[in-house]
Symmetry: D2
């Protein structure tokens, strides 16, 4: 394997690469960034209410899936372009970057019209065609760890992006598979901390997909903050019981507000704080 | 999850779906099918020598990768279209169907010009865009199980193909990840047998990628035959020590010849035999 | 770890260590040995009927648990010494060695009064006190692989027995844990074949506990035979629906008889056959 | 499985069971408890220096193994009784409870002469004979999760202790096995948080064995504190490079001191604090 290991992503000194997500927001510069929104974009009312609530509670960026990678062909597959329009509109209104998942290289021209940050999901972490194309997209990429991927494979998937010319890469730990299926996945926080040691890219944690359990989202978010993660990717739904996708793991807006109030003291305990961005001040998404 | 389970792929009665692979060869009709060739197509000499040897030993179909999904961006990525041309030429000459991996939906127009059977690899088992596009390609699909995929997820990935209008689907068990990393993967033969019970599609076994170990390819091939698999996907290289990809698991031509001689008595012990096809008779790759 | 690897168990040349189990039966000498009986000894009628049936069908040795390691304290814990008496009586009558599980070193004086072969179960593979005591017991030991144990750890557990002075050790692969919980465990047949290459001890396969599924016991038994295992450990119950323990995986006597008829041709295909023993001839448990 | 689930260990309301460990120290009452010391007791000087340092830094209880469950029979197996004497002596001197691992029921009479808390290790979590005997020992039990055990199996192992009459049970998450072997185990903090929801027993976290990596011990300790664990079990060695066992994961005394200074603000952020005990005040175990 001589010459085939990761080199561009490896840390050299203490500095984490700062990645600009849009609207003046950066991740990796020390401020803790919270990306929140619904798992799937369902309709105008759900999108508007949910993202308004998360922005009000202090979320720094907005997320929502328009193209959903569903295990079954008969499950809700997402709104497609109309969903992207709804999300982009809210991003402009709330002056926050929006993040959405791209499933295939062929969707990139459409995606870059609407989203600030391209999410590459767990199932696509080793979709090398998509990685190469996303590297040329001109957009920052949020690269989730595959649920069956080792830490080294995750490093090398990120290396594809940097080798392709895109330095704006953010990683996201979202749980791996293990023999214990009590929870949806096994959140590998120590793996996240290992990545922070080895790799110069910012690393977020997704406490929602990893646990699949609403009541564990806040404890795992605080644990991620204490362990040194650069931020979170959290699912919020105005009415989890009626969510078309993954309702069991979504926070309600009041629970999300509670999480946003619980984070600053934990961050402060380790000498950190929530990120601040110009745009966020303007709409009063304070803290 | 009501209404979202697999329905089209489920077995109804004892019959396995017969899938025609080309050149008169079918899998699922009772005859045991052996697909063999190099992991990666490297150059004209390597391709020609290897496939000539495997055809001579009785392989029913030829395999070889032109686009390789490599963990590292710095590893050999495959010959691309020139590789496909070499493989297709040998297929015509030896009158055997050729199988090669497609990495992305955008490659399909190119692939269908050269290959009889489209392989969708483990990393792409849940690349739903590719599954939907492959369903419309008019070619049979060999769908490998993801190394992090449950049996139900594999069933549902196949369901995407059938729901998209393609009934010509062959499955291939290639090992899953477990805590024991002594071997490359953990070959799940019981999972293969479970699939044969539940699913009406033919199931092959890949003893090469699963074990990653040359000396275990023959014992696992015989085990697969005894356990009821519909065939094998085996890697052979004229000179494993110099292979550009996965040489440690490749059989040499003499070892492959030994495997082809060892299979018939094991198949016979369970009332089966190697597949026979019109075309194969013509070139004398009998047994 | 210098100096701490396995040495006594490693293979040196082609020969497998022959282990005498009692009543003239040996395993590792080429003959394929089938150990069968109920998961748990429940009562005189169940024991007698089951072992009579398996002996009639040709089983070489009899198994049955008197002390059951149950996940819950409220599940049936086994008959204890009365169960051992029932099993020992049948062993004498049918002239076959009996195998039963020992849970703790303190049970050894009792166990050696009744059983020919001491089984050390998956949960106790690294119970080092038990391993050391069993090494001094004067009885052959059947050491099952832990469901969370790597192949190297299994080798080293066997090394404890050999280092303690007991050369009469038989290994048994019984499945490991993986993320896929469709079946009870993931049977690691390639791991068994790897052990046969590296280790000089005989290796059995347990198709019952590994799959937890009656219909998969026969295919996995044939696969084990084709892949080179030295024998099987199979659960049989006269009435699986009423079994106090693990009924879903037990064969009925007619299914077991079918398995015993299916094995010889598969063994013959790889140049082997079922074991024969003096004692077995005497009671006509032929084949 | 009707009637065989856990009942005694299940939470009923918000209260965690308070377990007295000795010397006035309790766990589960809200105060965060840190148990620290060397992996293995090696000699008088190492024991004395290490536990003096951890007590000085504020550890509430002392740990050290006299009987080591080693994968290889040729690895250092522990000092045995002389080690227990050294540890007990330091416990009396520093007025702190001592914790040490019991490997087998036959060791219990010896252990109770020297230790305040019996540790049952990962490999013995389902050693049911040991669980039953420990339940009758009159000592509190620290029950580590097996590295191959599900959360339900861990609950049921604890149920054996409570059903046997011992209410003084403390759990300890120490990492599970997964396909990613970059780190020693995969620390399952979400599983710990799930246990805190379901089970009324206190739960500690072992950041040392789980990660196997010195530099990850502090981040994972802080994460455990933020996520609601009741305390930690941490390995400290005066000279990790010369440790006879697991030196790579041991903190040095200065690093441990840093951890003890880092914990209070994180605990305070979630409304908690380090435990205080009468005895600890007396020897100036500050904070």
């Amino acid at each position: 394997m001589a010459g085939s290991g990761p080199t561009r992503v490896m840390r050299d000194g203490a500095t984490t690469t700062r990645v600009h997500l849009g609207h003046g927001l950066e991740v990796g510069g020390g401020g803790f960034v919270v990306v929140a929104g619904p798992c799937a974009l369902e309709n105008a009312e759900q999108v508007e209410k949910t993202v308004a609530a998360v922005a009000q509670a202090g979320a720094h960026a907005l997320r929502g899936g328009a193209f959903k990678p569903r295990t079954s062909p008969y499950a809700f597959q997402g709104l497609g372009e109309p969903g992207l329009k709804l999300l982009a509109e809210q991003g402009r209104k709330l002056r926050r970057p929006v993040v959405s998942e791209v499933l295939d290289a062929s969707q990139l021209p459409l995606m870059v019209d609407y989203v600030d940050v391209l999410q590459i999901g767990a199932r696509n972490m080793q979709n090398f065609t998509l990685l190469r194309a996303a590297a040329k997209s001109g957009r920052p990429v949020l690269l989730k760890r595959g649920f069956g991927a080792t830490l080294d494979e995750w490093l090398l998937a990120a290396e594809y992006l940097l080798d392709g010319g895109n330095e704006a890469v953010v990683l996201c730990e979202r749980g791996i598979r293990s023999f214990d299926t009590t929870l949806r996945s096994t959140l590998d926080l120590a793996g996240m901390a290992w990545m922070k040691e080895k790799c110069r890219l910012p690393v977020l944690v997704d406490p929602s997909h990893s646990t699949g359990t609403q009541s564990l989202v806040t404890p795992m978010s605080l644990a991620a903050a204490a362990a040194g993660a650069d931020g979170l990717l959290v699912e919020v739904h105005v009415n989890p019981a009626e969510a078309l996708c993954d309702g069991r793991q979504a926070l309600t807006p009041p629970l999300f507000d509670g999480l946003m109030r619980a984070l600053p003291p934990v961050l402060s305990a380790t000498g950190r704080s929530l990120a601040r961005a110009e745009a966020l001040h303007a709409v009063g998404g304070t803290r």
